[in-house]
């Protein structure tokens, strides 16, 4: 095992972590913090040993930061080099030990993130249907509407805060891996905020069902999502009952209800076994029967989990060769969770998706097999599966290097980080200042990944061909131009942070400084020469009025070209 300098690690982490500053604009890097006096650090939970690699040290660090974080900020590569890449990874695998004060301070601006579902239902009610009808008929002005149902008290506020929080975390958090795997699992267990009562449940879903288990046990994650009202509502399980069930009370009183297959199918196809994982239509029906009664207590008033005993199908169920005896009650669903999370198809399916996320669109089968074995050997320990993948020779291989295309969320967050942009918080409730987080989320939406609003339960795809097309590339270029020209509201970009001490009268110097900051000096020679050729453009190199020579470089445009370059679309 590698020797490691504990003291050095501590200091470096403190520097990387930054410090709380609640009112000042939030840069991706805080002011130099006071040294944190602390007890001696306990050893890391997981020791990481890196494999040999043909990549240079700089490439290894950049590649790892590109894959395990939302991209390096200026200076990050050097900081990780000092700390040691292995130690940086070990820290990221234990997010709870990384101080993240600035994010916590910034998230105070979004109160809905931590409110319980029943409180949200009451505090952010749906506008009265009659009010909406009157508005649509044109008999009420927008002003009157705003007075009757203020936008900051309407339910879409919850989704807006959640979107803003996602970007705030992606850009600012020191717990980069945690943010990224939380996003991964939300996408895996996708729900759409626009479906009915999900809007009041989605923040709680991410906070209590996804995030705490993102690097934990897969079974716990699966169970938490299965019992969460957001999932129960989104995939309709909350209303699925035993055949011909007739409630004696409630809104469906006296009406014949019955089975709904939606969740039963997707939990096997999308959450666990995979579509070729070996289940049949009979299994779908049996799983649906097992989950009958897993429901929600009044979705639009209370919105919490409730097992409705009378709706449950008490018969025997046969699922994938297992027999669930009669009268299993609420535990039937838990048994299904156990069967599915322990199934070898699940190990393979989850290993494949994680390897696709971290390594390449078509991950090497040998790596998938090793990751699946880790899944089986550790009882579905997600962190250990991730470790198997990111410490593999395949991860640090030249084939994987820059082999993936960034998703819209990744291109937006990594662009802001690359130029060390500052996020401004939202204005007071009711103000027209949405804040940098929400403005960036809207950019992500424009690029084709509306956050928390993916209608089909597959979530967003994780392969290049989904994100590369003519319109998408133009949108990415336009985002780069807008960002560097400070046209994204609530986001302040001071390019002197990226350009540093380069002499702006010497365009070549400025270009090289930008390539260092944004692409860690790893631009291809073709890209560098194409960009150098642009320096002859009088619009990039602004001539003085009497045309005697360059006076200033259009750093904004040049930076936009670098952010919009093919290399920066890759990770």
């Amino acid at each position: 095992m590698r020797a490691r300098a504990v003291g050095l690690g501590l200091i470096t982490v403190a520097v990387v972590a930054g410090a709380a500053c609640s009112n000042a604009p939030l840069s991706t890097q805080g002011p130099a913090p006071a040294f944190r006096a602390a007890a001696p650090e306990p050893p890391p939970a997981v020791r990481v040993t890196l494999p040999g690699s043909t990549l240079s040290e700089g490439q290894q660090i950049t590649h790892t930061l590109n894959r395990l974080s939302y991209g390096p900020r200026p200076g990050d590569v050097e900081r990780v080099r000092k700390m040691g890449l292995g130690q940086w990874i070990e820290r990221q695998l234990e997010p709870g030990r990384i101080p993240d004060d600035r994010v916590e301070a910034a998230l105070l601006a979004f109160p809905t993130l931590t409110m319980p579902v029943p409180d949200l239902v009451r505090a952010y009610p749906e506008p009265d249907q009659k009010v909406l009808a009157t508005l649509r008929s044109g008999q009420m002005s927008q002003e009157e509407m705003r007075a009757m149902a203020p936008p900051e008290k309407r339910p879409f506020r919850i989704a807006a805060e959640l979107q803003a929080a996602k970007l705030t975390r992606a850009v600012l958090s020191e717990r980069q891996l945690e943010q990224l795997v939380t996003n991964f699992w939300f996408n895996h267990f996708n729900v759409d905020v626009r479906k009915g009562a999900v809007k009041w449940m989605v923040a709680d879903y991410e906070r209590t069902a996804i995030r705490p288990h993102a690097l934990g046990k897969f079974r716990d994650l699966l169970l938490a999502t299965a019992r969460h009202p957001a999932m129960l509502f989104y995939l309709d399980n909350w209303m699925s009952t035993q055949a011909d069930f007739v409630p004696v009370a409630g809104p469906a009183k006296g009406r014949k209800l019955g089975l709904n297959e939606n969740y039963a199918r997707e939990i096997m196809e999308l959450h666990t076994l995979g579509v070729d994982g070996g289940y049949t239509q009979e299994d779908v029906i049996e799983v649906a029967r097992a989950f009958t009664g897993w429901s929600i207590d009044r979705p639009r008033e209370q919105g919490t989990f409730r097992f409705v005993r009378v709706a449950h199908d008490n018969g025997v169920k046969r699922i994938l060769g297992h027999v669930l005896p009669a009268n299993g009650g609420e535990q039937d669903g838990v048994k299904v969770i156990d069967i599915l999370s322990g199934h070898p198809s699940t190990a393979k399916f989850i290993a494949t998706k994680l390897a696709r996320r971290f390594v390449s669109d078509e991950p090497p089968p040998a790596l998938v097999e090793r990751a699946a074995r880790t899944f089986r050997d550790t009882d579905g320990d997600i962190r250990m599966v991730v470790v198997t993948i990111i410490t593999s020779p395949e991860f640090l291989s030249s084939e994987a290097h820059r082999a993936k295309i960034k998703t819209p969320l990744e291109i937006v967050a990594s662009s802001v980080r690359a130029v060390d942009g500052e996020l401004q918080g939202p204005g007071a409730p009711g103000s027209q200042q949405p804040g940098g987080g929400l403005a960036l989320a809207q950019q992500v939406n424009r690029l084709g990944e509306p956050l928390y609003q993916q209608q089909p339960p597959t979530g967003y795809p994780d392969v290049a061909e989904a994100w590369v097309n003519a319109g998408a590339l133009l949108n990415r270029m336009n985002f780069a131009l807008g960002l560097t020209a400070n046209r994204v509201p609530g986001v302040r970009v001071d390019l002197s942070r990226a350009v540093g001490s380069a002499d702006r009268r010497k365009p070549e110097q400025v270009l090289d400084a930008l390539l260092r900051a944004v692409l860690q000096g790893q631009a291809t020679s073709e890209t560098r020469s194409v960009l150098a050729a642009q320096l002859d453009d009088p619009e990039i190199t602004r001539a003085t009025r009497d045309d005697r020579g360059p006076a200033d470089t259009d750093v904004e445009k040049l930076a936009a070209l670098v952010l919009g370059s093919p290399e920066f679309q890759r990770k």
Partner: protein, 424 residues
């Protein structure tokens, strides 16, 4: 699919035009439909209803007694003279959902044909597999990389004529259009450009576009560079053609919503004569597991938007519909019996619409398998009597003019005798 390098020589034409310092790109001259020097191309507009539309509510088999027996709360009422809340009768046995009354004029004009009980022979009830199978045209085969529409265009003509030969409205290129024939995906026509702002010194047009174009013009063979080159050819062409100048005609009123927006812009591209041959649009919201409604309700709202969008396009294009076929599709249908929540679960066959000037319309095509229990697929779903590939093949062959049919649906024996007969 990672190599876009073979995507066509119009990129070279674009590069030459660039050397000519921003004059009209050559392909624009070459495809001078506007001057009437070339025949207008045949155009196919494919509309995908993602999520599996309930074909039995969309095109109601009101003459089948099992229909009403299977659906106690969600069946659409039998046609009633003068009622706007009942099935719109078509032929005494089938009728349109009342929310789709806007398509009745096209039926009466004999420009709308319907293929019922159409679908895939594959047994999957997974939305995502079934959509892929329908778009690649290879049910049961997951390794197919390209889409049937791309292969169809390739078979019509291998030499590209316009960067807008194939266009998908939306933020992603659908699998149906992936492949050798370059296709453009765009959110909106208006956004399809590099937004150039004025420089700080106000010194004329700032050319960020040229910078990006040079970056993506490098001789590197990968998905980004191939797409990048196509993109800039398309941007330049669109600038000259200026499709946004075309307002909807003939009183066409597109409903609000993404599909209406998409079809409106497809109409603009057609009128601007940019060389469009295949357009693709899609609409979600069909996965009605709960409370889908009958004459009114959730599904009725979706059907209203769907059919009004199609009807607006039909009206807007007017005489141009002589060269246009609109083909709708969905990955599968839904259970015949309603489920425990007044909705329907994943089923098998559904209904597909074919709309346009060349359509042998005003008639139902295909064979009705019946809804009695013993007639159902796996005892629960509408059986498939028309393989979707026979319908798609008929459109590709008789409308787009595909002659080399073996590549269109690999492994599928093409047999014109099995075409549903929807085209003249």
């Amino acid at each position: 699919m990672d190599c876009a390098c073979t995507r066509g020589s119009f990129m070279k034409a674009g590069a030459l035009a660039l050397l000519g310092m921003g004059s009209v790109p050559r392909f624009l001259v070459r495809t001078a439909y506007a001057q009437g020097t070339a025949a207008r191309p045949k155009i196919l507009i494919a509309v995908f209803q993602r999520g599996a539309v309930d074909g039995l509510s969309m095109v109601v088999p009101h003459g089948d007694p099992s229909y009403y027996a299977s659906r106690s709360s969600i069946a659409v009422a039998r046609p009633t003279a003068g009622s706007a809340e009942a099935t719109v009768d078509l032929d005494g046995f089938f009728g349109l959902h009342p929310a789709m009354v806007s398509l009745k004029p096209a039926w009466d004009d004999r420009h709308l044909a319907i293929v019922h009980a159409c679908g895939s022979p594959d047994t999957t009830r997974s939305h995502f597999d079934a959509q892929d199978y329908m778009e690649t045209g290879t049910p049961g085969v997951k390794s197919t990389q390209d889409g049937w529409l791309s292969r169809g265009l390739q078979a019509v003509r291998a030499t590209p004529t316009s960067p807008f030969r194939a266009v998908a409205m939306g933020s992603q290129l659908p699998r149906a259009l992936r492949g050798e024939v370059g296709a453009v995906a765009m959110g909106t026509v208006a956004d399809f450009d590099v937004k150039q702002d004025m420089g700080r010194m106000g010194a004329g047009i700032v050319n960020a576009r040229r910078g990006f174009e040079s970056l993506y013009e490098q001789d590197v063979k990968d998905i980004l560079h191939g797409t990048g080159r196509e993109t800039f050819d398309a941007v330049k062409m669109l600038k000259s053609a200026d499709p946004q100048r075309f307002a909807p005609e003939n009183g066409a009123l597109y409903p609000r919503g993404r599909l209406g927006e998409s079809l409106k812009q497809i109409a603009q591209l057609i009128k601007a004569d940019v060389g469009l041959e295949v357009a693709f649009a899609d609409m979600g919201g069909w996965d009605t597991h709960a409370y889908q409604g009958n004459e009114k309700g959730q599904l009725a709202l979706r059907l209203t938007e769907f059919s009004q969008s199609l009807a607006a396009l039909y009206r807007d294009l007017g005489d141009r519909m002589a060269d246009v076929v609109i083909l709708t599709m969905s990955e599968f249908g839904r259970t015949v019996r309603e489920n425990g929540n007044r909705g329907t679960d994943h089923g098998h066959a559904t209904a597909m619409l074919v709309l346009g000037g060349p359509v042998k319309g005003g008639r139902m095509a295909g064979r009705w398998p019946g809804l009695a229990r013993e007639q159902l697929y796996e005892g629960r779903d509408l059986a498939v009597t028309t393989d979707f590939r026979d319908l798609f093949a008929e459109v590709a062959v008789r409308h787009l003019g595909v002659t080399a049919t073996s590549s269109l649906f690999p492994g599928f024996p093409m047999n014109p005798a099995k075409y549903p007969g929807v085209l003249v």
